[in-house]
């Protein structure tokens, strides 16, 4: 799983760096490898939630880079890779200490889901970019409110999804 996370993070870094090099943006070109190196080190150290800070940083750099208006494909790939790399790094912590043969079925299934979702995300970005809407004040306010509502809903609903419930088991038995 650590390997998967590393692959995603490296893809993110290389893609963003390539994009920055193509458009000649010095800031993102320097920052992207730094952020990726930091993420890589944290994944190696199994630092877990601390990689979140790097994801936020990476998203910010990607947004700034993409705002230059010189293509969206590479920044989108970078963004999606960073997101899935971050998630895989957290999942890797949960599989720490397990034997390779035990982990493999879980990793395979996770990787399949993760890659599928990444491809879907990329497709969604492609579709979105083909839609041409003239920004008016009303549309901008509507979209802002829509995104705000969506963000709030996602924030509220995603809490139980990643919380450690420490709930009692559905069934357990004590034997001595």
């Amino acid at each position: 799983m650590t390997l998967l996370a590393t692959l995603f993070v490296l893809t993110a870094g290389l893609t963003l760096f390539s994009h920055a090099a193509v458009i000649g943006a010095i800031g993102p070109g320097v920052l992207a490898p730094l952020v990726v190196s930091g993420s890589w080190i944290l994944i190696g150290l199994r630092a877990g939630p601390r990689t979140t800070a790097f994801l936020v940083g990476f998203v910010a750099i990607t947004a700034v880079t993409a705002s230059s208006g010189s293509g969206f494909l590479l920044p989108a790939i970078a963004l999606i890779s960073a997101l899935h790399g971050w998630d895989a790094s957290l999942a890797a912590i949960r599989l720490r200490g397990f034997s390779r043969s035990d982990r493999l079925p879980i990793i395979v299934r996770y990787a399949a889901s993760s890659v599928t979702l990444a491809v879907l995300g990329l497709g969604l970005v492609g579709i979105a970019s083909s839609i041409r809407v003239r920004f008016s004040f009303g549309i901008a306010v509507g979209l802002a409110l829509g995104f705000f509502a969506l963000s709030t809903a996602v924030g509220l609903l995603s809490r139980p999804a990643r919380r450690s419930p420490m709930a009692p088991p559905t069934s357990s038995e004590e034997t001595e």
Partner: protein, 411 residues
């Protein structure tokens, strides 16, 4: 990202925030549809009671009682003082409906009671990315009891005995095995006791008197004050004292005596005197949990609550008597009517083995040994049976030396 896109009025940037929403939505949907599986877990030991230096095999099994296949990653709760010697304490993979997976591993444990409370890990959604952290409660307890050695011939002279026959000599005439003395035959005496040789010499009937052997109360007191103990390398003198106390308690219980145990230091851990195998288990479990303590309330040995001990009973004290004030305590116990056997865990040889040799070091060691000798001699003079135990040797050797020295003095 979306906000940034809106502020910049950039559709591409705005569109790039969609994968983030897609990811979150996928996570939420996956988690909502992913019901926690019904998992049954159990843990069994080859033996839930081992002695230190022994190992126990642990098997835990996980059964999927739910209606659908599930993916799990679980690991057993390994307490701090327990090490997995071999095998695997983790289990991950997919479990089909009704399938049971087992893992066996071997544990070695430090002295003490070790609780394994749960299996911790995660349930993985069969598709999607949702992971649900879980802690499956399953409390079991492994006791690692102290090892004890087989002791022989510990001589005690308590002042009070029980009415039941035992193995402790009472210095009173009665039914027993060892001859206490002789006297003239009186009407009603058992003719089988007549000493015919002595009768022939005295020209009168003389009978043998035998020493009564009775059961008594023996209270073992372990001084668990932390500053009385030291650790050199892997060797902890407190562990050696615990082992010694277990050996002594085992000996007296085998002799059919009632044995009580007090751990003086961490709290007042008191095991009420009783006899038999069950009491040996109680004593071992108490000793297994004993730890050196720095509690100020028990900083001085004179606070031993003597009212817990039956008057005239035998006390076996394991202590190095850290201060002159402590050194007076055994004498005070004798003055209150107890018989005291002081086992003095002498760690000087152990300390010497790790200290560099120097003239000053040698002089200091001699001074310390002289001070110890003076203290112990003083205690012996007031009727305390002192066993100077070099902790690098077994306790039985120390008792053997003490017995030999006493016989030498008697001669």
């Amino acid at each position: 990202m979306a906000l940034f896109g809106l502020l910049q009025r950039q559709g591409d940037v705005l569109g790039m925030s969609l994968p983030l929403f897609l990811f979150s939505a996928a996570l939420i949907v996956s988690d909502t549809l992913h019901q926690p599986p019904r998992i049954r877990v159990s843990r069994t030991f080859s033996s839930s009671r081992i002695h230190k230096d022994e190992q126990a095999d642990v098997t835990f099994s996980v059964t999927n009682d739910g209606p659908r296949e599930t993916a799990i990653s679980l690991q057993d709760d390994i307490p701090q003082a327990v090490t997995v010697v071999s095998g695997d304490a983790t289990l991950a993979g997919r479990l089909r409906v009704g399938q049971t997976e087992r893992r066996t591993y071997t544990l070695a444990a430090e002295r003490g009671g070790h609780e394994q409370r749960q299996l911790i890990g995660a349930f993985w959604a069969p598709w999607g990315l949702a992971v649900r952290d879980v802690a499956l409660r399953m409390e079991t307890r492994l006791s690692s009891l102290p090892v004890y050695e087989s002791m022989r011939d510990i001589e005690i002279r308590p002042r009070r005995f029980h009415a039941y026959a035992g193995a402790v000599k009472t210095r009173q005439a009665g039914s027993g095995l060892e001859i206490l003395g002789c006297r003239e035959y009186a009407l009603g005496d058992d003719v089988r006791r007549i000493n015919w040789r002595a009768s022939a010499r005295r020209d009168d009937l003389i009978i043998n008197l035998f020493e009564q052997e009775r059961m008594t109360d023996v209270n073992v007191i372990v001084d668990a004050r932390a500053h009385m103990h030291l650790q050199i390398g892997e060797v902890k003198t407190f562990d050696l004292v615990v082992r010694g106390a277990a050996s002594v308690a085992s000996y007296f219980l085998r002799q059919s005596n009632r044995v009580g145990l007090m751990i003086y230091g961490e709290a007042l851990t008191w095991t009420y005197p009783a006899a038999g195998r069950l009491q040996m288990e109680r004593v071992l479990h108490t000793l297994a949990l004993a730890r050196p303590s720095t509690r100020l309330a028990f900083g001085k040995l004179r606070h031993i609550p003597t009212r817990l001990f039956a008057t005239g009973s035998q006390l076996v004290v394991f202590s190095t008597l850290g201060s002159p004030e402590d050194a007076e305590v055994p004498s005070q116990l004798v003055a209150r009517g107890y018989s005291v056997l002081l086992v003095y865990p002498n760690s000087k040889d152990l300390e010497r083995s790790v200290l560099p040799t120097s003239p000053n070091g040698d002089l200091a060691e001699r001074l310390v040994r002289l001070a110890q000798h003076a203290t112990l001699s003083q205690l012996a003079r007031v009727g305390i049976h002192v066993v100077d135990w070099n902790v690098t040797e077994p306790l039985s050797v120390a008792f053997h030396h003490a017995r030999a020295t006493q016989r030498g003095f008697r001669r």
